[in-house]
């Protein structure tokens, strides 16, 4: 029995472009889109307008990825801010071996990993685990939130970091395996395997926790 007819779906933009460019642009090297080249030049020069454009293009998605990796909106915003600073610092030496978007998402993911490592070393600095409310903390659960969605969110923290990242990038954000391979600097095959492992682990966790049964009821 499928239970998801009632699951509130966040509308995903129709084949949301990974880049503000051709659909099939991936993480591989190649001739750069002139608009992207211009954007990169602006970033290299420290032009705030260029960063604003970059933020318009990728900010929402960066926040979502960071929020799901870190579990908290405030941390996510800190990570996005730090990632932008790293983009500014690194833009001059970025030689374009990858697409600009691949590079910025790579920076973001690594920044989130750094924050998680820091949190492990200094647990006293960590914000409380989101519990679904509170100003400036976790977002309140969407109206009509489905138990399965909540159960998946809770189970995500039990996945290995790479599995979690691939699941978030692929299943949640809609990145292709080519794009994920570029962001995480792994092969496409490895990306597929990590996604499979992540979903299998999630299945086990959902079965074990009984969330799936409750959701299906």
């Amino acid at each position: 029995m499928h239970v998801l007819e009632n699951v509130p779906r966040t509308p995903r933009p129709a084949k949301e472009a990974f880049l503000d460019g051709p659909e099939e642009t991936d993480g591989s090297s190649g001739a750069r889109d002139p608009a992207e080249e211009k954007l990169l030049d602006g970033c290299r020069a420290g032009d705030v307008a260029a960063f604003e454009r970059l933020y318009e293009l990728h900010g929402a998605r960066m926040k979502s990825i960071a929020r799901n990796l870190l579990g908290h909106e405030t941390d996510a915003e800190d990570a996005v801010q730090e990632a932008f600073l790293k983009i500014y610092r690194g833009a001059a030496s970025f030689r374009g071996s990858a697409a600009l978007s691949t590079w910025i998402y790579r920076i973001l993911v690594n920044t989130c990993y750094d924050l998680l490592r820091r949190r492990k070393r200094h647990p006293e600095d960590a914000l409380e685990t989101p519990s679904g409310g509170g100003e400036g903390s976790a977002l309140p659960a969407p109206a009509g939130d489905h138990p399965l969605r909540i159960a998946i969110e809770q189970s995500l923290s039990k996945l290995a970091p790479r599995q979690r990242t691939v699941f978030l990038l692929s299943a949640v954000e809609g990145f292709s395996h080519r794009e994920i391979a570029g962001v995480l600097e792994v092969s496409e095959g490895a990306s597929r395997t990590l996604l499979f492992e992540a979903k299998r682990r999630l299945q086990d966790l959902l079965w074990t926790s009984g969330a799936r049964g409750r959701a299906s009821a």
């Binding site: 029995m1 499928h2 239970v3 998801l4 699951v7 509130p8 779906r9 966040t10 995903r12 290299r44 020069a45 420290g46 705030v48 960063f51 604003e52 933020y55 900010g59 929402a60 926040k63 979502s64 929020r67 799901n68 909106e73 915003e77 996005v80 801010q81 932008f84 600073l85 500014y88 610092r89 833009a91 001059a92 030496s93 977002l139 969407p142 489905h146 399965l148 969605r149 998946i152 969110e153 995500l156 699941f167 978030l168 299943a171 949640v172 954000e173 809609g174 597929r192 395997t193 996604l195 499979f196 979903k199 299998r200 999630l202 299945q203 086990d204 959902l206 079965w207 799936r212 959701a215």
Partner: protein, 224 residues
Amino acid sequence: MTGRCTRAQEALKRNDPSAIERLRVHAARCAECAEPLALWDEIASAAPSLRREWESPRLFPKIAAAIDTEKFSRPAVAEAPAAPASSRKFQWIPMAAAASLFVVAMVGLQVFRNSGGREPLVNAASTSNPLLTDRSLEEVETAEANYVRSIERLSVLARPRIANPTTPLFVNYREKLQLLDSAIVEIRAQIEMNRFNSHLRRELLAMYQEKQRTLQELMKEATS
């Protein structure tokens, strides 16, 4: 999930649409595969709802401010790579500045060591006390104040050139001045804790001299 039929696992691992379609056909008559496939579909369908969106009107202004601060404190990061190839001939300047600072520091250290740390800064005849006397301290502070006044006057004249460097040479001058400023701040902080330390005073004077000389060179270049 752990039943005898492994077709579900194999197809899901391949994660290619045709394999999944074949699995669907198979799962219609295989309960062992139907369950994992159903849950698989549920997870896949629920996952996009994990995407979170919220308004952060203050986030980009914070990012822009942080970039501005970074740009101001580390201007060379953004500007140096954009400099034309012809600017390579000026690349020796920062290295020369660093080398000169190193030499100044080494000379200061050597003088201090030779004196066994007991020689006062300005008035050798006054005492063998490793610390400055009140009178010599006054002389040193007067000399420092003179340097500071001179440097301030030069800085006012040089400010437009430093704030908006038009050539790589001025970028390098700015970089050198920033280096000197941070060294001065550091030494002054140490002096705050030990005003009578002759070695620190000597280093500070050397820094002031270097800064004054740099500003004079910059002004000379600007007017030539």
